[in-house]
Amino acid sequence: MKLTDTLQFASGSLRGSPTRTLLMILAMSIGVAAVVVLTALGEGARLYVINQFSSLGTNLVIVLPGRTETAGIGPGMLLGQIPREITLDDAEALLRSRAVRRIAPLTVGSASLSRGALNREVVVLGSTADLLEVRHMSVGLGKFLPAGDIHESASVCVLGNQMKRELFGNEQAIGQWVRLGDRRFRVIGVLSQQGESMGMRTDELVIVPVASAHQLFNTSGLFRILVEAKSRDSIEDAKHDAEQIMFQRHNGEKDVTVITQDAVLATFDRILTALTMAVAGIASISLAVAGVLIMNVMLIAVAQRVKEIGLLKALGAPPKQIRALFFAEAALLSGIGSVAGLVLGYAGSVVIGQVYPMLPVSPPWWAVVAACGTALGTGILFSVWPARRAARLDPVAALAGR
């Protein structure tokens, strides 16, 4: 029997009981669609996080005060010391490393921003001119913080896009004075609209020179130092150098944490990929259920078509041909079900993409392949038993309908 004839005969018997066939295809397609949609969501979440990290800057090494590793109890802990803070001199010293292109020290605090009667609480970021490049920000109007000695304070500020709109509306903001805490600052620039990145809304920030921020908040320590390595390959060197420099400057004490953006990214990537796969696994349970359904339906089909099977045997169909016919039916069912499920799943992904525009929802290729593979696999696997049962029927008894 030719393959095309086998398929034609199988599709004929599927058309013979359209309701059953449609229900089976529906069950199979729901399973496939579930896998596609859920993995699309998981993959969307992963891409979202990765995009957020990338928008933070490229080739970044981040220096934080304090040691987050737990390596026993240090002497400082027993004396109740808090970790030594990172100073502006420490930050400047990092530039000695060959692997480092530029740095941006960061101080963060909150203060009330006011202009005339308008007043609101804002997050104030103290940094330097290089922050613009390091953090991939862009200036919409005016200019960014002036370059120069980082110890030098200046009464200038750059407003986030939303801050500008709230304080000035459509008025000219550049050159105007605003009050931040107990000091006056002149607006020299406005950031272009950027949205959210890593939980920090740059649109609602006010950026001032780091020395001014220190005066404003009466501190001398840095929140962190963003270090941009010269290239992707020099990230590890930059990290090592930063550790060495801080170690020397802090009298041989390892009291800072240096992390690379890549390491954080890789961790998130691993976690979210694992999550996506777990979700795909859960969704594929529905595929297994669909497989059991196929087995049930095929068993019923064998029972209902006993006479037909007997006839095929009488007409000279060997057992393997009978098996092939039932396999073909199962394969057609799960094949059509897979295609329908893919269509359904992709449509669902598009809808989710419309509802959550910031999620880059797209089903990963491996999930699509796995879903279809599992659908076909379970369909055929679960039809082994019914097909064998059909092939083993005694022709005499089958012809009599027994």
């Binding site: 029997m1 030719k2 004929g12 006479k307 007409l315 000279g316 060997p318």
Partner: protein, 225 residues
């Protein structure tokens, strides 16, 4: 050419052995017309199933065209059935979702014959049996006589050596029954051996060779002219 030597067939019903066929010796030649008669339970259907390779003897030897077919595998038996044996059943056994033409085509599909040749052979047969206008009808749109003619067309489409008919007129009225019987008898001209199982003495009497069975044994085997 069919030869059965000391063939027995026993069934196990519950814990009892029931002998359906006891020590059958039989030889059927090409283009013979044989009727097998006997009351129900006499073993005539079992004999037909054995000859048709649907069943295997418990002991004894079955030679089909000089070849011993008792030792063949399931697949080889299926192939022998496909190429050498045609069946006509009392209840027609047409596939309800296929048209008359598709039902006739079925054995050739199983044999892997290319579609063009299938179409041509189906067309010739349908014409010979006066079914051309009914080719695209499903079995439930056909009369009993037409259904049996489709079944005969299907049984002969592979040009078998032997055609086995089990009560071929059992579900038909008298007139259509005669027509179907004449159609079957006409096949002998092509050298096909025709075996008709019946318990209708009038139909059985039409065969040149009449075998009477009782309790799994051949009671009489008469040749008439």
């Amino acid at each position: 050419m069919i030869e059965l030597q000391n063939v027995c067939r026993t069934f196990i019903v519950g814990d009892q052995q029931v002998a359906a066929l006891r020590d059958i010796n039989l030889r059927l030649d090409a283009a013979e017309y044989i009727s097998i008669m006997g009351p129900s339970g006499s073993g005539k259907s079992t004999l037909l199933n054995l000859i048709g390779l649907l069943d295997r003897p418990s002991s004894g030897t079955y030679l089909l065209d000089e070849g011993n077919v008792t030792q063949l595998s399931d697949e080889q038996q299926a192939n022998a059935r496909r190429d050498k044996i045609g069946f006509v059943f009392q209840s027609f056994h047409l596939v309800p979702r296929l048209t008359a033409a598709q039902n006739v085509e079925l054995p050739m599909i199983l044999a892997g014959i290319p579609p063009e040749e299938r179409k041509a052979r189906v067309q010739v047969l349908m014409q010979n049996y006066g079914l051309s206008e009914r080719a695209d009808h499903r079995p439930d749109q056909l009369s009993g006589g037409q259904r049996q003619r489709v079944a005969i067309a299907r049984a002969t489409v592979m040009n078998p050596t032997v055609l086995l008919a089990d009560e071929p007129t059992g579900n038909l009225d008298r007139n259509t029954g005669w027509e179907v019987l004449k159609l079957l008898e006409g096949l002998m001209d092509k050298g096909i051996t025709l075996v008709v199982v019946t318990h209708d003495a009038e139909i059985g009497a039409r065969a040149r060779r009449q075998i009477h069975m009782l309790d799994g044994r051949i009671l009489s085997d008469e040749q008439t002219n």
